[in-house]
């Protein structure tokens, strides 16, 4: 009946999470890092939705709604911050954030 098994969903979700984490670690552009972070959140969303479906428990999907709503407000604030930083520094590279040092 289920063409796709829970394991497969979880593998995709874990791959997405690791890709996002890799992006956060490797990439140097704040916007790309931020996109990678959203990818990690969505990996969790996928896992939650899959568990919810296979456990026959809708609570997981409700949590997905909360995560989506919170991520939206986080993006609104986060992008505003990054835009403000860009207007000051004309850069979105993490190496240039060196004002705060010893």
């Amino acid at each position: 009946m289920n063409a796709v098994s829970l394991q497969e969903y979880l593998v995709v979700s874990a791959l997405l999470f690791c890709l996002g984490l890799l992006g956060v670690i490797v990439r140097r552009n704040i916007l790309v890092i931020y996109m990678s972070l959203e990818l990690m959140l969505n990996a969790a969303n996928l896992a939650l939705a899959a568990f919810s479906r296979f456990n026959n428990n809708l609570n997981g999907q409700v949590l997905v709604f909360f995560i989506i709503a919170v991520a939206a407000s986080e993006v609104a604030v986060g992008l505003a911050l990054i835009v403000a930083l860009y207007r000051r520094r004309q850069t979105t590279h993490v190496e240039d954030l060196a004002t705060l040092r010893l």
């Binding site: 063409a3 409700v62 989506i68 709503a69 407000s73 505003a80």
Partner: protein, 130 residues
């Protein structure tokens, strides 16, 4: 026919529509390459058309921050629907048990959003002129 197969088969028209749409777009483009006559291009021809004037400056225009603000407000007020939909779905069944709670919680939620809207309005976030 199993239940899942039946449910999937309901989406068959959608799949056909998708295939037709993609095929139409790709076909038209392909047709224009095959049938159409390729004109000679030169630098003058490739410049952007600016009512006959020579274009000045870079092609990409900078958009006002205003757009950003409106887009953000749109996202924030748009995402509230995420909560309205499930609420509307269960409203009928829950209203029989605890009518005050189900209505009151959504009114509280909307009230907070409304205060946010008032704030944006008073701060001139919707004012296009300035």
């Amino acid at each position: 026919m199993k239940v899942a197969d039946y449910q999937l088969s309901q989406y068959l028209p959608v799949l056909i529509l998708g295939i037709v749409a993609v095929a139409f777009a790709a076909g038209t483009l392909l047709l224009s390459v095959l049938v159409g006559k390729r004109g000679r291009d030169s630098r003058i021809k490739d410049t952007a058309y600016e009512c006959g004037m020579l274009p000045v400056g870079a092609g990409g225009t900078r958009l006002s921050v205003k757009f950003y603000l409106v887009a953000m407000l749109f996202i924030l007020f748009d995402i509230e629907v995420v909560f309205l939909y499930p609420w509307a779905v269960i409203f009928r069944s829950e209203a029989g048990r605890e009518p005050g709670v189900i209505l009151g919680s959504m009114i509280g939620f909307m009230l907070i959003l409304f205060i946010g809207y008032l704030y944006a309005l008073k701060k001139g976030a919707f004012d296009w002129k300035h």
